[in-house]
């Protein structure tokens, strides 16, 4: 990460420094996705947290275009109860 490799106490963190920054690739671009189907709930779920939120781009590395497609697909899927709006409890 592009942050200062020191923690609050000013000590150097060894582990993190050595880690090379690996650029994340948009998974949809790699698959050449042109349309994201709202019915494909299993795929959508991979881009949602367990609480039911859409995972942000900074975590998944999805490109802007596909993130937009993902967002609308998830919202449609929520409407017909294929994926949850929220899940407040875990089994």
């Amino acid at each position: 990460m592009g942050k200062d490799p020191r923690n609050k106490k000013g000590e150097k963190r060894e582990k993190r420094e050595k880690r090379p920054i690996r650029k994340k690739k948009c998974k949809f671009c790699l698959d050449r996705v042109t349309y994201l189907d709202y019915k494909d709930d299993r795929r959508l779920r991979r881009f949602m947290t367990d609480r039911g939120k859409i995972t942000p781009r900074r975590i998944t590395g999805t490109c802007a275009r596909h993130q937009r497609m993902l967002a609308s697909a998830v919202k449609r899927a929520r409407l017909i109860a294929l994926v949850p709006y929220v899940r407040e409890y875990y089994r």
Binding site: M1, R16, R19, Y35, D37, Y38, K39, R42, R45, T49, D50, R51, K53, P56, I59, R76, R78, L79, I80, A81, L82, V83, P84, Y85, E88, Y89, Y90, R91
Partner: protein, 157 residues
């Protein structure tokens, strides 16, 4: 003419005959207004992600058709009246090319989608990795230590 896709969730108590009748009814409505049905698909009884009208499951149907906007309004009206319908959604069919063959309205039957393995019941014991809104009084406070581990992992990735 535009291509649309209509998703319908029917009440789980509707029986086999009722499902057929329901399909026939909506196919009829589309056909009566010179709409062309290209596909009717059903997923059978499926678990809902959340309860709708206190029902934990419902019968899923997807109608793909071509027609004018008036048809959309008409089906929407019928769907809202129909008490068997738990929920419906009509969207533009963006996958349609526009030249799919139209089905004969009288013989249209819902085709079953191939069953898929259920992934839904996967247990999970951590909160959102990036849930930065702090404790909101949920019952899962006991998991906060697990949570912390995952959070660390999430940041590194």
């Amino acid at each position: 003419m535009r291509s649309y896709e209509c998703a319908v969730i029917l009440h789980p108590a509707v029986n086999e005959d009722g499902l057929k009748a329901s399909t026939a009814k909506y196919v009829e409505i589309i056909a009566a207004r010179r709409g062309e049905i290209t596909k009717v698909e059903t997923w059978g009884k499926r678990r809902l992600s959340f309860e709708i009208n206190d029902q934990p499951e419902g019968h899923y149907f997807f109608y793909r058709f071509r027609g004018d906007a008036a048809i959309v309004a008409e089906i929407g009206r019928h769907l809202r009246i129909d008490e068997q319908v738990l929920r419906h959604m009509i969207v533009r069919d963006e996958l349609a090319v526009g030249d799919e063959p139209a089905l004969e309205p009288a013989t249209v039957e819902a085709t079953m989608r191939a069953p898929q393995t259920e992934e839904e019941s996967r247990p999970s014991f951590h909160r959102d990795r990036d849930d930065d809104r702090g404790d909101r009084g949920f019952r899962d406070r006991g998991f906060r230590d697990h949570d912390r581990d995952h959070r660390e992992e999430g940041r590194r990735g």
